[in-house]
């Protein structure tokens, strides 16, 4: 038996402490009985919980007062009114729970963000039923998604924005789905424990020093680098190719988007080297590197990245950019695939 920490200092803190403890216990219990969820999970009735809301409690109180009034006056019509409200309450309870049961939640990925932006965890919810689902919302302790209605057979994307403040992996251990439909008398919800994670790039430094000068190698071709001196031919346009290299004349002739290839004496490329960044702090260096990478990517320059333990030769394009930024995001983290919890 572990000793229960008694909030001795302030008695006032007792109630919040009790509710927090109860909440924690209940969540722990739910977690244990539900286990981990697959990336695609259908809500079974057994895991959809329901409790009355504040409005619901007032409604119940009102119904009770009306019952006493009806009994006092032996008024059969106010009995009708009272029991009608009681019936509506009961029906609302079942309707509220049914509104969630059977929904299918599917993890739809997380867009990488820079530290300071909010990570967008995306969940697609599908309504595999013949009836409409109303007022569905995803939530965590700190954030919630938009409220949306789902028509029969419809699938909709719900986005949970989670604030980030440092680079690395962000994981969302638990989120909830809930509804107050139909009358806000009851709140019905379910907890989901999916393996949700996203990458947070370092925050790009606002004031970064000038990037190192472009190196120009003379006389020989570098691997996978396209110089700009001698026109060597055309190839199919790839995303990330500079618009300056598009063969617009060829495009006007053939309607096919082609890029000019150059093979020449001069191939320019930039190397961003972790060790060469003029800063002391590791995070500061990463931040500066992030700035250089994003700037270079924006101007369609080829760049390479060298961090201790890994090197990415000069290139361009979305994949290259992502690889570099991921390397910066996860640099030095002991266990990048362990769960760095923040939610």
């Amino acid at each position: 038996m572990s000793s229960i920490p008694w909030p001795s200092r302030k008695f006032k803190a007792l109630i919040p402490w009790l509710t927090a403890t109860a909440k924690r216990r209940v969540r722990h219990w739910a977690r244990n009985r539900q286990g981990d969820d697959q990336p695609v999970t259908e809500l079974r009735p057994g895991r959809v919980y329901i409790l009355p809301t504040g409005v619901g409690l007032v409604f119940a109180l009102m119904a009770f007062a009306m019952l006493l009034g009806s009994m006092n006056y032996n008024n059969n019509l106010s009995f009708v009114l009272t029991f009608m409200l009681v019936g509506i309450g009961l029906v609302a309870m079942h309707q509220c729970q049914r509104n969630l049961v059977g929904l299918e939640l599917r993890y739809a990925g997380t867009e990488p963000v820079f530290a300071g932006q909010s990570a967008q965890f995306r969940i697609a919810i599908t309504n595999n039923s013949r009836n409409r689902r109303n007022g569905i919302r995803l939530y965590t302790d700190t954030t919630m998604s938009e409220i949306q209605d789902l028509y029969p057979g419809e699938s909709r994307l719900f986005v949970l924005p989670v604030a980030t403040d440092r680079r690395g992996l962000i994981t969302l251990r638990r989120f909830g789905i809930r509804t107050l439909f139909p009358f806000e008398l009851f709140r019905s919800w379910a907890w989901l424990h999916m393996d949700l994670w996203g990458i947070v790039y370092p925050h790009p430094a606002e004031q970064a020093p000038e990037p190192p000068p472009t190196q120009t190698s003379h006389g020989h071709r570098q691997h996978d680098a396209r110089g700009e001196e001698d026109f060597a031919g055309l190839r199919k346009f790839h995303t990330g190719d500079s618009p300056r290299h598009v063969a617009w004349k060829a495009y006007a002739r053939s309607g096919q988007l082609l890029s000019k290839q150059f093979a020449g004496a001069d191939t320019s490329s930039q190397w961003f080297d972790f060790d060469a960044v003029p800063a002391d702090d590791v995070e500061e260096r990463l931040s500066i590197l992030t700035r250089w990478v994003t700037d270079a990517d924006r101007t369609f320059e080829d760049f390479g990245l060298r961090v201790p333990g890994a090197a990415y030769p000069p290139s361009h394009g979305d994949t290259h950019r992502r690889q570099c930024l991921e390397a910066l995001a996860l640099f030095g983290l002991k266990d990048p695939h362990g769960k760095v919890t923040r939610h």
Partner: protein, 650 residues
Amino acid sequence: MAKSRGTDGSLLSSLPWTLAAGGFALAPHVVFLPVWITVAFAACAAWRYGIEKRRRSLPSGWLRAFLALVGFLGVLGTYSTISGVGPGSALLAIMAALKLLETRRRRDQFVLLFIAIFLIMSSLLREQYIWSLPYLVVGVLLTMTAWLRLSASAVEAPRQSLATSSRLVMYAAPIAIAMWIFFPRIATPFWAVPIDTSRGTSGLSETMSPGDISSLSLSDEVAFRVTFEEVIPAPRERYWRGLVLTLFNGRTWTSNDPFMGPRAHEQVAAIGNPVRYQITLEPTQQIWVFALDMPWSWTLSRTFMGPQQQLARGQPIDQRVAYEAVSYTDYRTEVDLRNYARDWYVSLPDGTNPRAVTLAREMRAAVTSDRAYIEAVLAKFHEEEYFYTLEPPALGSNPVDRFLFDTKQGFCEHYASAFAVLMRAADIPARVVLGYQGGEINPMGGHLIVRQSDAHAWNEVWLPSRGWFRVDPTAAVAPERIDSGIRGAMFDGTGAAWGLAAPSALLHRLTLTWDVINAKWNEWILGYGPDNQNRFMKWLGMDDPDWRKMMLTLVATVAVLTVIISLLLMWRYRPPPKDRAAVLYQRFVNKTGVLPTTGETPIAFARRAGSRSALPVDTIEFVTTSYLDARYGPGDADAMRRLESAVAAL
């Protein structure tokens, strides 16, 4: 703080519904409430809607506080109290109006909807007509629709909300009905709060001053309805005993008398056959309970027989009550009258109505017995120029003298008063009974309707060895009043003289039909009290019903209904039908013996199944392409046939 009071039109989707629900809930109160409250509510509603429509700002806190104070003082000034249904509903209306002015968020409207429900409830406490039931159902529907729109998305169509709330109310109805039937009714209230039920109930006057009011109202309002178990007694025997007046001050008869004691019931000796019947009495705000003369037993709670055999209840009858009673139309009562009581029943105030007193003594001296004297007085009324009229002249002081000797026109009260005075002056104990006489038989419902216009006054006279017995002097003047009711008295020819036309037969028939519906409504819905419930439970087969059994049945029934509703909802949310192609494909998948993984496309599955399944690769490919064509391709009818034959061949 103008910013926090600003509106952005976001309530436009829910506010009209909230206003409609509030207005609907207030509607039945309008006739009871002072006009300024209705006007204030309507004005606030329009004001608030205008603010939202034009994105204006809400009134300032100071203005709202000022209006709240004015409203509260207004209610206090109008009613000089704040308890009771009248002031209560007035306050609710004012609260709703003021709450509107500070409603900024959608959720603030919850308060308004709660108030709307309370307003509906208080209107039901006041009146329970047949239309009150549809009224309350519509009221609940409107309120719940408004409620739904508070949390629905702003683009949701009102029709959709109405459909959803109608569906939910419909689901709730069986639960409500079951609870209504089985919820145990109790006989006595916990506490009594006055309800200003009526727009002026016309009950019986508790005193009688013939000559003061010069006309009798001919109100058609129902006083009570009677269902007889066997035969309906003849009109001559239908005297519905109410209260008894024993003290006369020269002008006014009152019931102030010194007699006490619960032994009045023992003074009655029944003769002949009992008459059994059930009465549904409309609220009178008086304590008097009516029964056929002479009541022998009755089932109404807290009701006792007074010293003059009048029935009275411990509290005013402020709502409709139903009771069974047994009466004997032939009876003896108080054969031995004590001397002090005898003195009381012959007392007359000195110096009033001297001519009547003199006349009585002369007439008594002219005959040999009290009985002969009574006959002589009745004969005088019958043979001399006395008229029965509902609009007699006013009588001034010494009304009995003026009536007997000068005007000679009057209705039952005049004759009863004069008769009692003549008896007392001749030293014969006499008193006045107020109640109803006659009643109309509704041939459709088989019951008797007794209306306010059937109110009647008659006398009881005491003779040694005979006790008290009924004498109706009005019968001597206008026998048709007794035989065919007041309507008969007016409409069998003589009515034309009073400028009244007989109602058309069709209209009368419709009135009677409506009365049957009303009677059933009163009996089965409004009168569903402890007694009716007990009877109904027994009819359902519950032996020896008590509240425990009823509560148990209630819980069980509601549980069953809830399960049914739950199943119904599950059915509503069932998955959409799989189309024929999907069903066939599923059959094929089962045949392959390979489990598809989540999110696997048919082509990927076919590739995987091709290497693992016992089925030939060609077949798998054929079925897969046929399925894809049937489901997604353009020539689906043809592909469907191929799929069907291929799956059948498996």
